[in-house]
């Protein structure tokens, strides 16, 4: 009985350790790509986990940029095939647009 209890605590402890590891390890973070094509972000809305990296790739013949609606970040002008990467550490909702063509809008939900 004493041994069984000890074993249960051990298993529980290991599980907690693993879960903690998964939450803090960047190695588990994903890269998510948003393509800019025909003056639109695709997909326009994405849901990611905290710590994931979003990579914007401009597939158009002209330049675009990525600007947070609240001004918290912005890319430089992105020429054709240029990339802009941004890691989102905190949960929340981030609305963004193209600084040159503000009718182009997108949204990132960080969980």
């Amino acid at each position: 009985m004493r041994f069984r209890l000890f074993r249960s605590v051990l298993i529980l402890g290991t599980t907690v350790a693993l879960v903690t590891l998964a939450n803090s390890m960047p190695a588990f973070a994903k890269d998510v790509t948003v393509t800019i094509s025909n003056f639109a972000f695709a997909p326009a809305a994405i849901t990611i986990a905290a710590g994931d990296k979003v990579i914007f790739v401009n597939g158009d013949d002209t330049i675009h940029s990525v600007v947070a609606d609240d001004g918290s970040f912005h890319s430089d002008g992105l020429d054709t095939n240029d990339k802009f990467a941004m890691t989102f550490a905190k949960p929340g909702k981030i609305a963004y647009h193209c600084g040159l063509h503000p009718f182009m809008k997108g949204e990132i939900i960080v969980q």
């Binding site: 330049i63 430089d76 002008g77 609305a95 647009h97 063509h101 503000p102 009718f103």
Partner: protein
Amino acid sequence: MDDDITAGRKLNRRHALECMVWAGTGVIWTLSGGVPKALSLLDEAQAAEAASSSFTFLQISDSHVGFDKEAPVTAIDTLHEAVGRIKALSVQPSFMLHTGDITHLSKPDQFDDADQIIGSTGITTHYVPGEHDMVDAAQGKAYMDRYGKDSWGQGWYAFDQNGVHFIGLVNVVNLKAGGLGNLGAEQLAWLEKDLAGRPSSQPIVVFAHIPLWTIYPQWGWGTDDSAQALAMLQRFGSVTVLNGHIHQIIQKVEGNMTFHTARSTAFPQPAPGAAPAPGPVIVPADQLRGMLGLTSVNYTVGQRDLAITDSTLA
């Protein structure tokens, strides 16, 4: 030109339509007694006469130095060609207006190249920025360091030439999600002050990158708060509004206001709604120059309408 200049508003409007036939090369603007009219770059006799009694200026726009998707022809090549046309004019314009998108990506070497090529004309050039001139890491510092020294706020200013008041406005800064071009409260307050006390008979020329009237909001071709600026200009007998941004000629006359957009010297864009998106139209090299151009404007003392002439690089 004299007959047209002495004619009333209707004739001027008709003439404006005639001028649009020239659309595509470059527009020479003439201010006649307060109203801009375009002169054909090709009609040297008229241009010479206009210069003796008034003055002519050129509008150059959307040079996009750094753009190369019309390969083998680059934006630098066609800017060189445009400048070649300007140098060859028998009557040199008093000055030039550049209505923005000087560069494609706000890079220092692109500003350098544009400066060197346009500067080789030896003609004083007044600039306003396009959104492509604002995409450096500091969002506009590169433009302001180079062109903004004698300006207010984020680059707006005014100057006078032969009694005509020229106002350069900036509507490409801090564009809001879902919005159009934007002047902002600070600039509108400056404009109100700049216009206060001016006689309504003084001819006004306003120039800015994005059109100051709504052409196609789905593509951002308009300015959210331009109505406030236009309301301040309403009392003036002659107002000419010159814009770029849309890489094609669209003209409108409303009361005492004439609105005109210039061609690009770099690449054409689709007519409003004619394509899924307003990206560059890539055309065969032999067609490209017919879609690029300059605008000339001639002003004649005592005339209300400025003469606006567009001409292509073909």
